[in-house]
């Protein structure tokens, strides 16, 4: 690995693709065979068969993806054997409590508890009643309950459904706001996640978004005379291309000169920031005429993403674009040869090169696609969310939030979709909470980061909640030995006794 393909310190091959090393974050979809299933079935593979040998030879730590794929292959072959195994209910319960869902739930509970503690220790009523806690403890508990209950109720009503509203149409508004917030988070999260899967750490979401906003915005207010769908389309293409090119610089430098993508993308963030600042501060470029503020004129109507649910909601067609992007990235990663090359390079660049994959070309391509996705987020910002003209803070920290979204989503497209919506909800609810209860919105950051942190460490969550730890390795060894013994004595029964 030394020399030509250095291990990127930020993004080691088996690293940020969360699903690989840590079993927790890849929460299994409901109904899908859960995490422990390969375990049961693995035992049923004849160790002498070619497939069994292949599994044995795969280093599970170094190439988790490959090992997993092989295990799934085995799972498909040996599915009937599992059916025969006894006491399925106990198994099911054990799986449910040690699986990804329980850990995710536990992580959220822990994070919410931590958030509550922050709310409680800074709440005025609680602090006022605390000195006489031993005289009248009920006062303190009431104050605690009020503070925490009020905060989370405001959070929920700000993010999902407002029970105080007159009509359903009014009440559902927070949910649409959540989805509006989620729109760029999903797109940018996909960009970061895709790079993660290829072993690259795209920390340059801010710069890519800013360049995309610059390109899309400039055409959005500067070009006149184009009719509606074409103007919008042109802006979208320009924005995505600008994001792709900005990230492509990082990919190209990495591929050709070995420059570390973490440094390059950080530096490009600053370059983009100051470039846009210059454009915005210079009359005749992007600054609105007749204004001294570093802000652009509003977008023309022909370039704006139309509202999705009518003009009374903020939600715009950008959300549909984000959903399409999720499907597109899923297809790219799981069904296309380019995506296979991405993952292969991410898992093990050396092996990928031996297998005939052009690692340099793949690196550039990954960054282009990732940058395009982040660029989509920037474009959605200027054409959907902030159409009245934007300034240099148009990225609104989404470039960095996207990293957390990608991590929480386990770098899988559907995971990113869920995580993006969750974070969008936190954002919407957080502002409502700040307005209603006077709790600083930064508490949302604390809760979000704690969720990701706990989800990434399933053993810790299991230990706190006393959930059963899945015992993968010992059991597997034992059963394999059993099978070998069985094979030597001539018994050839299938499945576990």
């Amino acid at each position: 690995m030394s020399g030509e393909t250095p291990r990127p310190d930020g993004a080691e091959p088996d690293g940020p693709a969360l699903g690989g090393t840590t079993p927790g974050p890849e929460t299994p979809e409901p109904g899908a065979p859960d995490l422990t299933a390969p375990d049961l079935t693995k035992a049923d593979v004849d160790p002498d068969s070619p497939l069994g040998e292949a599994i044995g030879s795969v280093d599970a730590v170094a190439e988790p993806g490959l090992a997993e794929e092989l295990e799934q292959e085995v799972a498909r072959e040996a599915a009937p054997a599992v059916e025969e195994s006894g006491d399925r209910w106990r198994d099911a319960l054990r799986r449910a409590t040690s699986g990804g869902w329980a850990v995710a739930l536990g992580a959220i509970v822990l994070a919410v508890v931590a958030g509550s503690i922050l709310i409680v220790v800074t709440d005025e009523n609680v602090l006022a009643s605390a000195p006489y806690f031993f005289a009248r403890p009920a006062d303190t508990f009431a104050a605690i309950g009020q503070a925490v209950g009020g905060a989370y109720s405001a959070l929920f009503q700000g993010a999902v459904y407002n029970f105080g509203a007159d009509s359903f149409a009014q009440g559902i508004r927070p949910l649409t706001q959540t989805l509006t917030n989620a729109t760029p988070l999903i797109a940018a999260g996909l960009g970061v996640a895709l790079a993660f899967r290829a072993g690259l750490f795209n920390i340059g979401g801010q710069g890519q978004m800013l360049m995309a906003a610059t390109a899309a915005g400039w055409i959005g207010f500067g070009v006149t005379g184009l009719p509606f769908p074409w103007h919008l389309l042109l802006c979208l293409v320009a924005g995505i291309a600008a994001g792709a090119l900005w990230a492509g610089i990082a990919g190209l430098l990495k591929a050709r000169t070995g420059a570390h993508e973490v440094i390059v993308t950080i530096m490009l963030n600053y370059v983009a920031f100051y470039l846009l600042s210059y454009f915005l501060a210079t009359p005749g470029l992007m600054q609105a005429p007749g204004s001294a503020n570093p802000k652009t004129p509003p977008m023309q109507d022909s370039a704006v993403l139309p509202p999705l649910l009518g003009s009374s909601y903020n939600l715009h067609w950008g959300f549909v674009l984000s959903l399409l992007a999720v499907v597109g990235v899923w297809w790219l990663l799981n069904r296309s040869s380019a995506g296979f090359a991405f993952r292969a390079v991410g898992e093990n660049p050396k092996a990928a090169r031996v297998a005939g994959i052009d690692v340099s070309r793949t690196t550039v391509l990954v960054m282009l696609v990732a940058g395009g996705l982040v660029g989509l987020a920037g474009t959605q910002q200027v054409l959907g969310s902030v159409t009245t003209g934007f300034s240099v803070d148009i990225d609104a920290g989404i470039g960095f939030d996207a990293i957390t979204v990608a991590l929480l989503g386990g770098s899988s497209p559907w995971g990113v979709l869920g995580a993006g919506i969750l974070f969008g909800g936190f954002k919407a609810g957080g502002s409502a909470m700040q307005a209603a209860q006077g709790i600083p919105i930064e508490i949302v950051l604390v809760v979000q980061s704690l969720i990701v942190l706990f989800i990434a460490a399933p053993p810790l969550v299991r230990a706190i909640f006393r959930l059963p730890q899945p015992e993968r390795t010992p059991r597997r060894r034992e059963t394999r030995r059993d099978r070998r013994r069985a094979a030597s004595t001539g018994t050839t029964e299938g499945g576990r006794a």
Binding site: P6, P16, L252, R256, T257, I266, L268, Y270, S449
Partner: protein, 431 residues
């Protein structure tokens, strides 16, 4: 300009595979690109007049006279020096030998002087060389400490993306403790403890729970930003007088050394935190490369299994390194609230931790080089400040962009592939 780099690097990469020569054209091409940009600047925006360089202020022990030079002539002479170095680099590379570092240094200094002459031309104000360099040392303090801490952690195999969070936690706690106790020393110590605590969390998750190090680093940054901003709004803003106004460290001129012309006021009229930095840089280098502890750290970072085999407790060694690294970063965090200004502000580190991370990689995981990289960033930032005083013709945004552009060129052209400690980023599982 990227295209130029690529065209030249492509065939060369293939050539390098055929021959054993270690020389590449990257350095020469990088110098060439910079020189072309420099020449374009001078040609497209000539700037007549004379530039005034002030080498000392009136209060200095030795007062040197202000140097006045014709701007464009100086700029072109400096450009010619750069061209000579470029020619030397081409000759060296064709002979299959590396371009020496001193040549690159001469090139950089020459073009910098030329650029300053061009930028300061015609300005009635003096360009204060002491202010430029002294301010650079001050601004680079958190970057250098951050980079040092990052180097220690990564040498032990733990990637520290959380430098930003550690700096911020240090700054925050130093502000509170410094305000309550009215003592900057207490603030400094508290910052070290706070930053080490963040490092402890980093260690617990990455070493004990074997969570991916990049994830923990990124998330810890968000966590610390969230916590400090939350408490800033809830506690520090309402109680600004009691909780958020520190006493700062005074400047502490060192007798004798301070009276050396130029160097004295730049290096030896600083605060104690800066002097600590002068000690910390060589100390970290010595500790990493000349002590038993350093050998252990590097061993667990390069090949933890081998280290384990010879009886080194990998987990313990990594914890210790991460904690020490965190403590060093904390010194940099204290700089914000007990040296630079006297109060904490929301997200006041403003990405310095990421620049420090860049400095770690830029410096190839070597404490001395990483510190130099930190100094470079500090210098570039201060360059902008000084030029805006002089009234430079370049839009300030481009001046602000300059350090990052230079880093990009340097990383692509001069540093090239950097190799992290082999086990950096991977948790160690004992078999």
């Amino acid at each position: 300009m990227t295209a130029t780099t690529v065209d030249a690097a492509g065939p060369d990469a293939r050539a390098a595979q055929r021959t054993v020569s270690t020389a590449t054209w990257k350095a020469a091409v990088g110098l060439g690109v910079v020189l072309v940009l420099y020449a374009l600047l001078l040609l497209l925006a000539p700037h007549e007049g004379s530039a005034r360089f002030a080498l000392s202020t009136s209060t200095d022990f030795v007062v040197l006279s202000t140097i006045v030079v014709p701007a464009m002539a100086t700029a072109w002479v400096c450009g010619a020096v750069g061209l000579l170095v470029l020619g030397y680099a081409v000759v060296r590379t064709r002979a299959g030998r590396r371009v020496p570092t001193w040549a690159i240094a001469v090139f950089a200094v020459a073009l910098l002087v030329g650029f300053l002459a061009w930028a300061a031309a015609g300005s009635p104000r003096d360009l204060s060389v002491v202010g430029l360099l002294g301010g650079a040392v001050g601004l680079s303090v958190p970057l250098v400490y951050g980079a040092l801490g990052g180097v220690v952690g990564e040498r032990a195999g733990v990637v520290n993306i959380a430098i930003e969070g550690q700096l911020l936690a240090g700054a925050f706690v130093a502000a509170i403790v410094g305000s309550i106790t009215n003592s900057p020393w207490a603030g400094l110590v508290a910052a070290v403890v706070a930053s080490a605590l963040v490092a402890l969390v980093l260690g617990a998750f990455t070493i004990t729970y074997k969570v991916n190090q990049v994830i923990v680093g990124v998330v810890l940054n968000v966590l610390v930003i969230g916590l400090t901003s939350f408490f800033y709004s809830e506690l520090l803003v309402p109680n600004a007088e009691t909780l958020n106004s520190t006493t700062r460290f005074e400047r502490l001129p060192i007798p004798l050394l301070e009276s050396i012309p130029v160097i004295g006021p730049v290096l030896f009229n600083q605060t104690i935190v800066v002097y600590l930095m002068y000690i910390a840089v060589p100390a970290v280098w010595y500790a990493l490369f000349r002590t038993r502890w350093g050998l252990q750290v590097r061993a667990v970072g390069e090949h933890p299994k081998a280290a384990d085999t010879v009886g080194i407790d990998v987990v313990k060694a990594r914890y210790r390194a991460v904690l020490i690294g965190g403590a060093v970063v904390g010194l940099g965090g204290a700089f914000y609230t007990v040296v630079s200004i006297n109060q904490f502000g929301r997200e006041m580190t403003a990405g310095a931790g990421f620049i420090a991370l860049a400095a770690v990689i830029f410096g190839k995981w070597d404490p001395l080089r990483a510190a130099l990289a930190g100094l470079l960033f500090g210098f570039a930032t201060n360059l902008q400040n000084v030029l805006s005083v002089v009234g430079s013709p370049v839009p300030s945004q481009f001046m602000l962009m300059l350090p990052y552009l230079v880093t990009l060129l340097a990383v692509a052209g001069l540093v090239g592939r950097s190799r992290a400690p082999a086990a950096s980023g991977t948790p160690y599982t004992k078999e």
